[in-house]
C-alpha cells in the first residue's frame, strides 16, 4: 500500500470523527508534501536539493496517549499510519473508545499496524524507534529516563492556552465560547482565559450567554465530585471577593457547574479548573508579565480579529500556535504540536516559531456537536488543572458590579434569550479551521521518518 492509498483509507476513517476537522486524502498527502518536500517521498526517490532521496519512517512508533481528548490520540495514530509505520498505542487506563473505532474503520492492512494496550509492555518501549508521549510533566519525566539515546523522544506535556480579543466585537463571544467548551476544555489547546480589549466585563457577560447556549445544545459531560467542588469553591470565593469590592464577577450555570465565566482584574495568568470554567481579563498593554508564570507551558493563542498584525503581537509571547478564535481546538493536520515538527527528517532546520493558521476569520461557522463533547471521561487526563493555585497575588481592584446584577457579581445565565450564536445547520459557511480556509505555514507531526539521501 503506497502513501496515496494509505491517505485515502485514513481520510475515510478520519471522517467518522468530526472533531478531527475536515480530513481528505489530499489533506494528508499535503501533510506529507509539506513535511518531506514531496507527497511521494515515502514511496520512491524524489528530488531533494542536488540529489534524490526517499524517506523511510521510523518504526515501530510508541504512542502513549492521554484521555483528556481523543483528538490528539487519533491524530498521532493517523500520522503514524500515514507514514507507514507500525504503531504501538498505550491507552489511558480507562481506555479510549475512539481508537478502537478508528481501527475498525480501517482496512486490515492498516488496522493490523496498530496494537493497543492499557498497559505499557516493556518490549514496546524497548523496540520503539520513537516514543511519543502525551501526559503530565511527571509522566514525561518518568518515561524520559526509560528511553535509550537511540530512540527519539517526543514529549507533549502540560500546556495551557489563552485567547486575546483585540476588538471586543460581540460576535466573537460565540467563538470564544466554542473554544472554552470544546472537549469540555480539557485539551492543551483549550483556553484558560480570554484577554479582552475594551469593556472586558461586558464581554464576559456576553460570553456567559454563549456558554449557556452551547450548554443547551451540547451539555458538558458529568464531572467528578472533586472537580465540582473546585469549581464551586472558585465561584464562591470570587463572589465573596466581588461583594467586597474587588474587580471581579461571576456568571455561572444555574444549579450545576456546567459552565462558569469569571471576570477578574487580579494580575497573573489564572489557572482554570477547566470543564468549561473560563476567565475573562482586561487586555494589558504588555501581556508578558501576565504570561510569565506559564511561559514555558504555553501552547496556543486564539485571537480576534485574526489578522497578521494582531498575530504578530504574540509571536514572542511563548505560544507555538496562533489561530482565529473559535478554531483553537481544530488545528490543521500540518500543525506542529508544541512548535516542533515530527514527520520531518531531523536536521532540516525547524525553528519552533509560532504558526499562524487561517489568518482571516470568515463568517460564523457551524458548530459540530461532536466537536464540543467527547465521550465521558472520568479523569481530566494529561494536563491536570492546578486546582486553586496560581491565584495568590494580592488584589487591588475596583468594584464594578455589572449593571442590573446583584452586588456580588454572581449571576446565572438568562436562559437563551439574546442569542448571537446559532446551532449548526446545512448551508453554513465552512469552518475557518478547515484546511481549505487556512494558510498554514507550519508543517505537521507524528512519526519521524528518516531521510535516506541517495545520489
Amino acid at each position: 500500500m503506497n502513501t496515496a492509498d494509505r491517505a485515502r483509507h485514513l481520510a475515510e476513517a478520519a471522517s467518522r470523527f468530526p472533531f478531527l476537522g475536515p480530513t481528505s486524502a489530499d489533506d494528508l498527502l499535503g501533510l506529507v508534501a509539506v513535511e518531506l518536500g514531496d507527497a511521494r517521498a515515502l514511496d520512491q526517490f524524489v528530488p531533494r536539493g542536488a540529489h534524490r532521496a526517499q524517506a523511510r519512517p521510523v518504526s515501530p512508533l510508541l504512542h502513549i496517549v492521554a484521555g483528556n481528548t481523543p483528538a490528539a490520540a487519533l491524530q498521532t495514530i493517523v500520522r503514524g499510519l500515514l507514514l507507514g509505520a507500525h504503531n504501538f498505542v498505550k491507552l489511558p487506563t480507562v481506555g479510549l473508545p475512539e481508537v478502537d473505532e478508528l481501527r475498525s474503520a480501517l482496512p486490515n492492512e492498516l488496522s493490523t499496524q496498530v496494537d493497543v494496550s492499557t498497559e505499557l509492555p516493556d518490549e514496546w518501549l524497548a523496540c520503539a524507534g520513537a516514543v511519543i508521549v502525551f501526559g503530565s510533566d511527571e509522566t514525561i519525566a518518568s518515561l524520559r529516563t526509560r528511553v535509550n539515546p537511540a530512540q527519539r523522544f517526543i514529549p507533549h506535556g502540560h500546556r495551557v492556552s489563552f485567547g486575546v480579543v483585540f476588538d471586543p466585537d460581540p460576535a466573537s463571544a460565540a467563538e470564544a465560547a466554542r473554544d472554552a467548551s470544546a472537549f469540555d476544555q480539557l485539551g492543551c489547546l483549550s483556553p484558560h482565559v480570554f484577554y479582552v480589549a475594551g469593556d472586558a466585563r461586558a464581554y464576559a457577560a456576553r460570553l456567559a450567554r454563549e456558554m449557556q447556549l452551547i450548554q443547551d445544545r451540547t451539555p458538558r459531560e458529568p464531572v467528578t465530585l472533586s472537580v465540582a467542588n473546585i469549581i464551586r469553591g472558585l465561584r464562591e470565593d470570587t463572589a465573596f471577593r466581588a461583594a467586597n469590592g474587588e474587580g471581579c464577577a461571576v456568571w455561572a450555570s444555574e444549579a450545576c457547574t456546567a459552565w462558569t465565566v469569571i471576570f477578574d482584574t487580579d494580575p497573573g495568568f489564572p489557572s482554570s479548573p477547566l470543564h468549561r470554567t473560563v476567565f475573562v481579563k482586561p487586555l494589558p498593554a504588555d501581556l508578558a508579565p501576565e504570561l510569565a508564570s506559564v511561559r514555558d507551558h504555553l501552547s496556543c493563542a486564539g485571537i480576534f480579529p485574526a489578522t497578521p498584525d494582531f498575530a504578530a503581537r504574540l509571536t514572542s509571547s511563548g505560544v507555538s500556535r496562533i489561530c482565529p478564535l473559535g478554531c483553537m481546538q481544530s488545528p490543521p493536520w500540518t500543525w506542529h504540536q508544541d512548535g516542533a515538527p515530527r514527520s520531518r527528517p531531523q536536521g532540516v532546520g525547524d525553528a519552533p516559531v509560532p504558526a499562524l493558521t487561517a489568518p482571516r476569520l470568515p463568517a460564523r461557522p457551524p458548530l459540530p456537536p461532536q466537536l464540543l463533547s467527547a465521550h465521558p471521561r472520568p479523569a481530566p487526563g494529561p494536563h491536570p488543572p492546578a486546582a486553586e493555585s496560581n491565584r495568590a497575588h494580592p488584589s487591588a481592584h475596583t468594584a464594578h458590579p455589572p449593571p442590573g446584577k446583584n452586588a456580588s457579581g454572581t449571576q446565572t445565565a438568562a436562559p437563551h434569550k439574546s442569542n448571537t450564536a446559532h446551532p449548526p445547520r446545512a448551508g453554513d459557511k465552512p469552518h475557518p479551521c478547515a484546511p481549505a480556509a487556512s494558510s498554514a505555514r507550519s508543517p505537521a507531526q507524528p512519526s519521524p521518518p528518516r531521510a535516506l539521501p541517495h545520489e
Binding site: 465530585l225 464551586r232 465573596f240 491536570p384 495568590a392 452586588a407
Partner: protein, 347 residues
C-alpha cells in the same frame, strides 16, 4: 460600636457555653445559629457584604457559608484587628497565602476542646504525650494550642524545635507512664506517628489500662500515606493500644470545634453545637444518606468569625455523622497538621 459588639458577643458566648454544658436540641441549635449569624452579619464587615448578596436565612441550613479559601484573603472577624489576641494560621508552603482565624480570646475555643473530650469520655487526667510542637514554639498553630489546652502542665512534648522527634524524650515519657497510675494519651499528627513508628524499629511498650491515641491531619500530600487500618494496627503493635482506642480528630484552623471518629470504619461525630452538612457541590443542596459530597460545617463556637464554612473535604453522609473520604485530592495540601509535619516530611 466595639462596646456593643463585645456585649453581644459575650451574651452569645454564654449561650454557646451553656450549650456545651447542657446540650442543644434541634430548635435550640437553629435559634442560636440564627442569632449568631445575625450578629456576624452585622459586625463582620466582609461577611456582611457577602451576605448582602444572599437571601436572609430562614433556618441554620440557609446561612451563607464561606469557602475556607476566603480566610486567606479577608480578615473574617466581628471585632477590629487591635482586639485580636490569638491568631491561628493555616499551614502551607513558602510563598503560599495562608488563612488566618482571629480570636479575641480562646474561652470558647478551649471550652469546646474540653467539652468534646468529656463527651468522648477521654480522661483529661491521662498522661499525655504530644507529637506536635509546643504552643510556644508554634503560637499560630491551632493544633498545638489544642494540645496545650489538654496538657499544658503535665504533658511530654516530643517534637523538638527543629521538628525532629525526641526519641529519648519518648523513652523518658514511657518510663514515667509506667510509674504512674494514669493511662497514656498519645496525641499527634498521623504523619508524626508514621515517623515515630519507623524510628521505633520494632520496640514495644506495655499498655496501661485506658490508654488511647488521637491522631489528626492525614498526610497532606507528603507521599507518606498509609491506610488508616494499617496505621491503627501499628498503635496496637507498638503501644498495645487497640484500634478501638484510637481516635481521628477532624478539625481545621477556620473552626473552633472538632469532630471525632473512633477506630476504623466509623463515621465522624460532632458535638451538639457543631453540625456537618454534606452537600452536592453541583447544586449546593444536602445529599441523601449514603451519598458523597463536600463537608460544610456550622460551628456555633465560631462566634467571633463565621459559623458556616464550606471545606474542601469529601465525605459520605451517615445520618447526622459523616464518613470522611479525605481532603479533596485536587485541593492544595493544607491543614493544621502541616505545621507540625513540614519539618518531619523533610527529614
Amino acid at each position: 460600636m466595639p462596646a456593643a459588639e463585645l456585649s453581644q458577643y459575650r451574651l452569645l458566648e454564654e449561650r454557646v457555653l451553656a450549650a456545651m454544658r447542657d446540650g442543644l436540641d434541634d430548635a435550640g441549635f437553629n435559634a442560636l445559629a440564627l442569632a449568631i449569624h445575625a450578629f456576624q452579619r452585622h459586625w463582620n464587615t466582609p461577611y456582611s457584604r457577602f451576605c448582602a448578596t444572599r437571601p436572609e436565612p430562614r433556618d441554620w441550613q440557609e446561612i451563607p457559608p464561606v469557602p475556607q479559601s476566603v480566610f486567606k484573603r479577608h480578615r473574617l472577624a466581628t471585632f477590629p484587628p487591635e482586639v485580636t489576641r490569638t491568631l491561628f494560621r493555616t499551614s502551607g508552603t513558602t510563598g503560599e497565602t495562608r488563612g488566618e482565624h482571629h480570636f479575641r480570646d480562646t474561652r470558647l475555643y478551649d471550652a469546646a476542646i474540653v467539652s468534646m473530650w468529656n463527651r468522648l469520655q477521654l480522661p483529661l487526667d491521662a498522661f499525655p504525650v504530644f507529637l506536635v510542637p509546643k504552643p510556644e514554639n508554634a503560637p499560630h498553630s491551632s493544633l498545638s494550642h489544642m494540645a496545650g489546652v489538654l496538657g499544658a502542665q503535665h504533658g511530654h512534648w516530643l517534637i523538638e524545635e527543629g521538628g525532629t522527634i525526641d526519641m529519648e524524650g519518648l523513652t523518658a515519657a514511657m518510663r514515667d507512664v509506667s510509674g504512674s497510675e494514669r493511662p497514656l494519651a498519645l496525641f499527634g499528627t498521623a504523619l508524626a506517628f508514621v515517623h515515630l513508628f519507623e524510628q521505633l524499629e520494632g520496640r514495644r511498650f506495655d499498655r496501661r489500662r485506658g490508654s488511647f491515641a488521637v491522631e489528626t491531619g492525614g498526610y497532606k500530600g507528603t507521599g507518606r500515606d498509609i491506610p488508616k487500618a494499617a496505621l491503627y494496627t501499628r498503635f496496637g503493635e507498638v503501644f498495645d493500644i487497640p484500634p478501638s482506642h484510637v481516635f481521628n480528630e477532624y478539625g481545621m484552623t477556620e473552626l473552633s470545634s472538632q469532630f471525632y471518629a473512633r477506630g476504623v470504619g466509623t463515621p465522624h461525630q460532632g458535638p451538639p453545637w457543631a453540625r456537618a452538612v454534606i452537600i452536592d457541590p453541583e447544586t449546593g443542596l444536602e445529599v441523601r444518606g449514603g451519598e458523597a459530597g463536600i463537608v460544610r460545617i456550622v460551628d456555633l463556637a465560631n462566634v467571633g468569625s463565621v459559623i458556616a464554612i464550606e471545606t474542601q473535604d469529601i465525605a459520605i453522609r451517615r445520618g447526622p455523622a459523616f464518613e470522611l473520604i479525605g481532603r479533596d485530592p485536587a485541593a492544595l495540601p493544607r491543614g493544621c497538621s502541616r505545621t507540625a509535619d513540614e519539618s518531619l516530611s523533610g527529614a
